[in-house]
């Protein structure tokens, strides 16, 4: 599903990733961990092609991201749900509209959009919050809206960047259960986190980064 070959990424003089080669199979659940600044976010950005590798290749769902055309990239991104560390919700659109965004861009008819959005919001315990604007919500609620937007169109891959970073213990447990549930439906899940609590006792594969290198 995801293959990286000798990926390097630098921003000017700063090196973010050094010689990363890895494979994530279809249906896998993988943690990427390491301290802040280790390159976790950059690695995820490479996978959904928000950043291009400085050298090396990244293949996602059979597509080489170094050579992908704009339109193909748009189509590929519809198969990848991303939960951003800072949520990236549109503050002047309601919860309903924010979540619907992932479906609108694909040209799904409006009645279908409403149906799927409501269903997803129900699964994430956000019923009643449809007409709220993100700034009116708590951190945990915004986090769940971000997750709802990422999963509403049943992506093949779900990338979550510190999905529990702003949450208390109870909510963390809840969100992780949710991610496991999404995974159980066949979605490949990659979770980037610096939280050791999240990793404790897990039997999932853990990729550890340190200063841009895999250790």
């Amino acid at each position: 599903m995801i293959r990286l070959y000798h990926v390097y990424k630098s921003f000017g003089a700063n090196t973010a990733l050094v010689d990363i080669s890895m494979t994530v199979e279809k249906g896998e659940f993988v943690f990427v961990t390491g301290p802040s600044g280790a390159g976790k976010t950059t690695l995820l950005k490479i996978i959904f092609s928000a950043e291009k590798p400085t050298s090396g290749h990244a293949l996602v769902s059979g597509r080489n991201l170094s050579r992908i055309k704009d339109r193909e990239l748009s189509l590929l991104r519809r198969k990848i749900g991303v939960v951003f560390q800072d949520f990236k919700l549109l503050p002047r659109r309601t919860v309903l509209e924010n979540v619907a965004l992932s479906l609108e861009v694909t040209g799904v008819p409006s009645p279908m959009i409403r149906k799927k959005v409501h269903q997803t919001l129900r699964n994430l315990a956000l019923v009643g919050k449809e007409e709220y604007y993100p700034p009116q919500l708590s951190g945990g609620e915004q986090q769940r809206v971000a997750i709802a937007r990422a999963i509403v169109n049943n992506p093949l891959i779900l990338l979550a960047d510190e999905p529990t970073g702003n949450l208390d213990h109870d909510l963390t447990v809840e969100i992780m259960a949710l991610l496991r549930e999404i995974h159980s439906r066949g979605t490949t899940v990659i979770v980037a986190t610096h939280s050791q609590e999240l990793l404790r006792g897990t039997r999932r594969r853990i990729i550890t980064l340190s200063r841009g290198r895999m250790v």
């Binding site: 748009s74 519809r78 991303v82 549109l90 965004l101 040209g107 937007r149």
Partner: protein
């Protein structure tokens, strides 16, 4: 599917305008001012241009005869003039010419008493209807008329023609240069205004791209917004200009020398062109700004 997709984009554009009212209002205000300056200049230019043209049209020529003209000579002239865009005003006989001279001299008419015979020629006045700038008509006509037996001389003011001609030339050059610069300035201001509206929403564009929106899906609402803004900007500018025009023409009697200058408002076809142009400016302005943005 296609039409519903397009409908969605139009709806999105309208919603964006409403949601970003302040940014759009500032942009619209800037556009209105830019268009208003351009439209006002155009109004002044069109009126000045048509006024100078009018002056060029009313060229009077005098045909002087040897002695009293025979009716056959007049007939020959009439026949010749049929081929030209001229109108004959009146025939002035020798006696009539003398009477009018005496009238002009008034108290000093006594000066004429010593004359044994009337030295004034009979004449025919004609008015040229065609734009003198466009061909050598006055020169050609003068030569032909002077070829008719019984015609002594044909006179008209060459200087007047030359002057009108040079004024028209200057008006047009200044108009083109100044109008062109004004238009470029308007385009520059508008493009930058649109760029600001786009920058103010770059997060939205980023998120749309990240959830898999195609470039077209992101760009089209912006381009529709730009076009709507351009159209409204053009419409409001024209409306303001019209109101100003009404207010000014109702109060001020504009005269230049003896000729009163009737200011005419921009004609309906021209208004349509201006509206189309302002819409197009919004369209092109947003497309260009977006192009730059998407390269970043």
């Amino acid at each position: 599917m296609k039409t519903s997709f397009f409908r969605h984009l139009v709806r999105q554009a309208i919603r964006n305008i409403l949601q970003n009212r302040l940014v759009h209002l500032i942009g619209l205000g800037t556009m209105v001012i830019a268009f208003l300056v351009f439209d006002a200049f155009l109004l002044a230019f069109l009126n000045l241009d048509s006024w100078t043209r009018e002056q060029g049209r009313s060229l009077t020529m005098s045909i002087y005869f040897k002695g009293e003209p025979k009716s056959s000579v007049i007939e020959d002239i009439r026949e010749l003039l049929l081929q030209y865009p001229v109108s004959i005003t009146k025939l002035i006989s020798k006696d009539e010419a003398m009477k009018s001279l005496k009238k002009q001299l008034g108290d000093r008419a006594g000066l004429l008493r010593g004359l044994e015979e009337n030295p004034l020629p009979a004449s025919l006045e004609i008015i040229l209807l065609r734009d003198v700038r466009e061909d050598s008509l006055p020169y050609e006509l003068k030569a032909k008329l002077e070829g008719i037996n019984g015609v002594d001389e044909v006179q008209y003011s060459r200087e007047w023609i030359e002057r009108v001609r040079s004024i028209m030339g200057a008006v047009e050059i200044v108009g083109l240069v100044f109008g062109g610069l004004l238009f470029l300035a308007a385009l520059f201001i508008i493009t930058n205004t649109i760029k600001l509206t786009i920058y103010s929403r770059k997060d939205e564009i980023e998120i749309l791209k990240l959830v898999g929106a195609t470039n077209r899906f992101v760009k089209i609402p912006f381009i529709i917004e730009g076009s709507i803004q351009g159209f409204l900007g053009g419409l409001i500018a024209l409306t303001i200009l019209f109101l100003l025009y009404m207010a000014i023409t109702a109060k001020v009697d504009l005269r230049i020398g003896f000729a009163s200058l009737d200011i005419v408002f921009i004609s309906p076809p021209f208004i349509l062109v201006l509206l189309l142009m302002s819409t197009l400016t919004g369209f092109v302005g947003s497309a260009v700004s977006l192009g730059r943005f998407f390269k970043l």
